[in-house]
């Protein structure tokens, strides 16, 4: 039999339900492999012992009606987990132990999932390479010293290395889709309002959204079905009829109209990405889709808009870290001195940079010129998509303008790092669902992803197109276990 850790979530569930393997065997396999994989630095906090114990308890009293029966799952360390340390990759939350559970993780435990551990991420999810984490860089299992993407870098690394069967990330400007693309895995950002933000450490509240990351499209559909729910505890959670995404999953996408936005052909885009996109268009045609050229004229304004809106919201959200009620406290002579020293020592460089930008654009005299302006341009970007969706059902683009880069390669130049999110950011600004699926490799054999963007609340179509194309593309990661000790 294939190794347990390389099975898909769907296969694991099937085997557990048919009593071919026990939850404890599954938990043991993932714990063992995770123990041997410390070099990846994917975990911030391990929950291995508790996971093994809970898996035994599941086996003693199994419930096979659950959607994730006794499945161990590691999650991004941005989700608050009751009684388990939650750091958001930051020194300021180094010792924070929540007394409550995020709705998304609670949904997973309610369906039989078991917490395996908390995964590394960029500090407060601000980054595209996992290099801003207080807990150190994460290795991409594809090759040594390659970034796993970010901000959900621990998640993508653990997933691609088979340390967890599936995982969840959060995506504010591409933080699920870009790391998925960099590691040859699948990552879905749902429509804004689908998955509750309750208990997720907030970065930019009008953009943040949790979503599944998995080895294939079917697994993402299973996990989305579990985590997507209306939640009164999140004031922007939306009460809409959610599909049974996994049972309604189909490869029949005949006649579906897929738009190709000409503005995504950006200057300086490597040939490989252009080729990948063209190949993707051919695959979509082979699947029975109709290809239509569209225009999203304000695309090039998306990143500048994002870099006003996201830091502004972040500066406001992160005002709560003051060293009083929880988290790090530095000693100071007065209250203000204590605040200033705590925040200076507790936050890393990128987080401080974004708080400064956010504070500046919201400060007296600049609000209209920056924040209000950005909100207006955000409207134009959303209208671009609204108009495109009069003609098409979904949109196909590359996920990222390049493959994974080396650790340290871009960390000194914030703007070049920000450009990584050029294809993913517009989707967050417009609140749309988007998925990244592996679609090929570059000359170094590093994976490249394609992104499918859908209409609001139409995750099903996005998943169906991805499911259909995935079969045609038939991409397999080539991972050598180079990090195993």
């Amino acid at each position: 039999m294939t190794e347990i850790t390389s099975l898909s979530l769907f296969e694991l569930i099937k085997n557990i339900k048919e009593k071919k393997i026990s939850s404890n065997e599954v938990a043991k396999s993932f714990v063992d492999r995770s123990e041997k994989s410390k070099k990846l630095n994917a975990y911030v906090t391990e929950n291995f012992e508790k996971c093994l114990k809970l898996s035994k308890e599941f086996d003693n009293k199994p419930n096979f009606d659950l959607k994730l029966p006794g499945i161990p799952i590691a999650v991004k360390d941005l989700f608050c987990t009751n009684e388990v340390r939650t750091t958001a990759g930051s020194n300021i939350l180094n010792n924070f132990v929540p007394s409550y559970e995020s709705t998304v993780t609670q949904n997973i435990w309610n369906e039989g999932g078991i917490l395996l551990g908390k995964l590394n991420c960029d500090e407060f999810a601000m980054g595209s390479s996992n290099e801003t984490s207080f807990f150190g860089n994460v290795q991409n299992p594809i090759a040594k010293d390659l970034v796993p993407g970010g901000s959900s870098g621990g998640s993508s690394s653990a997933l691609a290395a088979n340390l967890t069967p599936v995982t969840i990330g959060t995506d504010t400007g591409g933080s699920i889709r870009q790391p998925a693309s960099f590691t040859g895995t699948v990552g879905l950002k749902p429509t804004y309002g689908s998955c509750s933000r309750y208990g997720i450490v907030a970065f930019a509240s009008s953009l943040d959204q949790a979503g599944p990351m998995s080895k294939d499209v079917k697994d993402s559909s299973i996990l989305l079905e579990v985590i997507s729910s209306f939640d009164k505890k999140d004031s922007t959670s939306i009460d809409f009829k959610r599909n049974n995404y996994s049972s309604e999953l189909t490869r029949n996408i005949k006649g579906i109209k897929i738009g190709i936005p000409k503005e995504y052909r950006v200057d300086g885009m490597p040939d490989e990405i252009e080729k990948l996109w063209k190949k993707g268009i051919e695959y979509a045609k082979d699947c029975g889709a109709e290809i239509i050229d569209i225009s999203l004229p304000h695309t090039s304004y998306a990143l500048p808009t994002y870099y006003i809106v996201a830091p502004a919201e972040a500066s406001s959200n992160l005002a709560r870290y003051d060293g009083v009620k929880y988290g790090l406290r530095s000693s100071g002579e007065s209250l203000i001195d204590m605040y200033e020293k705590t925040r200076s020592e507790g936050f890393g460089e990128e987080v401080k940079r974004r708080i400064m930008i956010g504070t500046y654009v919201l400060s007296s005299g600049y609000y209209d010129a920056y924040y209000l302006k950005a909100q207006k341009v955000r409207q134009l970007i959303k209208q671009d998509f609204d108009q495109a969706y009069n003609k098409v059902d979904a949109i196909l683009t590359p996920s990222t303008p390049s493959s994974a880069f080396k650790i340290g390669e871009k960390s000194n130049d914030p703007v070049s790092m920000y450009l990584n999110d050029i294809f993913t950011v517009p989707v967050n600004l417009a609140g749309l669902p988007g998925i990244s699926i592996p679609a090929g490799a570059d000359k170094n054999n590093y994976p490249l992803g394609l992104q499918i963007i859908g209409k609001p609340f139409d995750e099903q179509t996005v998943l169906n197109i991805a499911y259909s194309m995935e079969e045609k593309i038939n991409y397999k990661n080539n991972i050598t276990d180079w990090w195993i000790e």
Binding site: N95, F96, V97, S99, G193, S206, K232, S235, T236, I238, H298, Y301, P304, T305, Y307, I308, S315, A319, D322, G323, V324, K325, Y326, G327, R329, G332, S334, L335, I336, D337, M338, Y339, E340, K341, R343, S344, F347, K352, R353, M356, I357, T359, Y360, S363, Y370, L372, K373, A374, Q375, K376, V377, R378, Q379, L380, K382, P414, V415, Y418, A430, G431
Partner: protein
């Protein structure tokens, strides 16, 4: 537009982040390159565009003003860096 050292220091005061002189200079440089990139938005005329304030087109819901959590005082206080009985402790603020 350029952000000078004085502005950076003012902003750091507003953000309650203490800043060393050397770091302030680097931050000013970074902020200038980021704002140079942001200035692109000025190419667009937006006088007649409604700002998009929320992507979820819902009005905020009301709920009853009712306590729903148990007494979790001890759990909450457990995370505080410094406490005294049932209180959070901060540096003295009254002379």
């Amino acid at each position: 537009m350029t952000i000078d050292l004085k502005t950076v220091k003012h902003i750091s005061k507003l953000a309650r982040i203490s800043l060393e002189e050397k770091k302030a200079e680097k931050l000013a440089n970074d902020m200038n390159s980021i704002f140079e990139f942001i200035e692109k938005l000025n190419e667009l005329k937006t006088e007649n565009v409604e700002p998009l304030t929320s992507i979820a087109e819902t009005t905020l819901r009301f709920r009853e003003d009712k306590i729903t959590s148990d007494n979790i005082r001890e759990k909450i206080l457990k995370n505080s860096p410094e406490k005294n009985d049932d209180f959070f402790v901060v540096p003295k603020v009254v002379e």
